[in-house]
């Protein structure tokens, strides 16, 4: 049996990481994919619960910081190649913290720096877009407005207000800065 290749799942809040994990656990258990389960490291109760919710079409409860856990699924194909799918099922808010505070836990760093591949989750229907007002003006053909909205309608800057695209680019930059090699990233 060959050495396991470590793949890590990451993504912003509500990007579908936990739902993917639930669906994957379902298809692996039912033998619906060529990969077979070798063994599971971590809390099987947790993956069973989210998988049950997924099967009954109950929206998966978002991972909160309080229940952050890590699951490692060791899968192998018929040739004996092993894939270690490590899912640091940390809350999406934690990924926001990475962006806002420019740092992450040593445990997450250990996983990321050891990864041989990354699955980056993006919710295509729920993206905070980086639109500029002038780009909108060009698209709509409208000129600059004369009056600002009332001050209470204005949004004050905070890092959390940044567009998802920017946060994800920064996240990938952080990962690259911690790497001494190139690795594939799947979107």
């Amino acid at each position: 049996m060959n050495t396991a290749a470590l793949t890590v799942m990451i993504g912003l809040p509500e990007s579908g990481k936990t739902t993917f994990l639930a669906a994957l656990w379902h298809v692996v258990n039912r033998g619906e994919v060529e990969l077979e389960l070798d063994h599971l490291e971590g809390d099987q109760t947790y993956v069973n619960r989210i998988c049950d919710e997924w099967r009954t079409c109950i929206p998966t409860v978002r991972t909160s910081r309080a229940v952050e856990t890590e699951v490692a699924m060791f899968l192998h194909n018929k040739a004996g190649d092993v894939v270690e799918l490590r899912i640091p099922d940390i809350s999406g808010e934690s990924y926001n913290d990475f962006w806002e505070h420019r740092g992450w836990a040593q445990s997450f760093d250990n996983v990321v720096t050891a990864a041989s591949g990354i699955m980056l989750f993006i919710h295509a229907g729920n993206l905070r877009q980086p639109e500029f007002l002038d780009e909108l003006a060009v698209l709509t053909g409208e000129q600059e407005q004369d009056e600002e909205p009332a001050p209470e309608e204005l949004v004050e800057w905070s890092p959390a207000e940044a567009a998802d695209q920017v946060k994800l680019v920064e996240l990938l930059q952080f990962i690259r800065a911690r790497m001494d090699r190139s690795i594939p990233v799947a979107l």
Binding site: R102, L133, D134, E135, A137, P149, V155, W157, P159
Partner: protein
């Protein structure tokens, strides 16, 4: 990227604004460097761009005292220096001459104090969308000619041609970001860069750590 996002946030739809704005750089903060690492994909070349964000007050001091050029943070390390001409202020006869004279003073001072070589100075006309919308190209060309004449009185080495930019475009006359690609191309071109001092700083494991110089054990 947080630094860039903070600076452009008031121009984003998410700000709730309808009029584009840019936060003024606070004089209370020290010099801040904005860092971009860019890659010319077709040439396979990566370049690091560090942009000092300095408050306008710093340059008001320089306008009044040419020796203050030497006190501008990081000025000893700059590879290129951009002297800006405010296109919007050029359009109004009340502000045109002051705007031109201030840029002229900055340019002359930079050349006299030799904080930048003539060939590394860029004259940049900003808010070009407003200039085009007001049919003010001739006025801008006059101002540019004035700056080049000033430079010619200080040095015989020509400075590069001026670049007109519109980082935002509110008039629809030019696209948002007009001229910025040309400016970046010029900034990232190989130049006779100054040799950085040999400094070993341990930056820990933060994102900037990969810039650190090797430390002898």
């Amino acid at each position: 990227l947080v630094g860039f996002e903070e600076r452009c946030f008031d121009s984003r739809l998410a700000s709730g604004r309808t009029i584009f704005a840019t936060q003024r750089t606070s004089a209370d903060h020290g010099a801040q460097l904005l860092h971009l690492e860019l890659e010319a994909v077709d040439r396979g070349r990566r370049e690091t761009l560090l942009l000092p964000d300095l408050p306008a007050e710093r340059f008001e001091t320089v306008i009044n005292d040419v020796a203050a050029w030497r006190l501008v943070p990081v000025i000893e390390r700059v590879d290129r220096l951009a002297v800006l001409l405010d296109g919007d202020r050029l359009l109004d006869v009340d502000t045109r001459w002051v705007a031109t004279a201030q840029s002229e003073t900055l340019l002359r001072g930079a050349l006299e104090t030799e904080v930048a070589l003539p060939e590394t100075i860029d004259v940049v006309v900003t808010k070009w969308d407003k200039v085009v919308a007001a049919r003010g190209e001739a006025v801008a060309e006059d101002a540019i000619a004035t700056l080049f004449a000033t430079a010619g009185r200080v040095t015989s080495t020509p400075i590069p041609t001026a670049i007109c930019v519109a980082a935002r475009s509110t008039t629809g006359t030019v696209e948002p970001g007009f001229g910025l690609a040309d400016l970046l191309e010029r900034w990232l071109a190989p130049t006779s860069r100054r040799v950085p001092p040999d400094v070993a700083i341990d930056l820990g494991n933060r994102a900037f750590a990969h810039f650190r110089a090797p430390v002898d054990s």
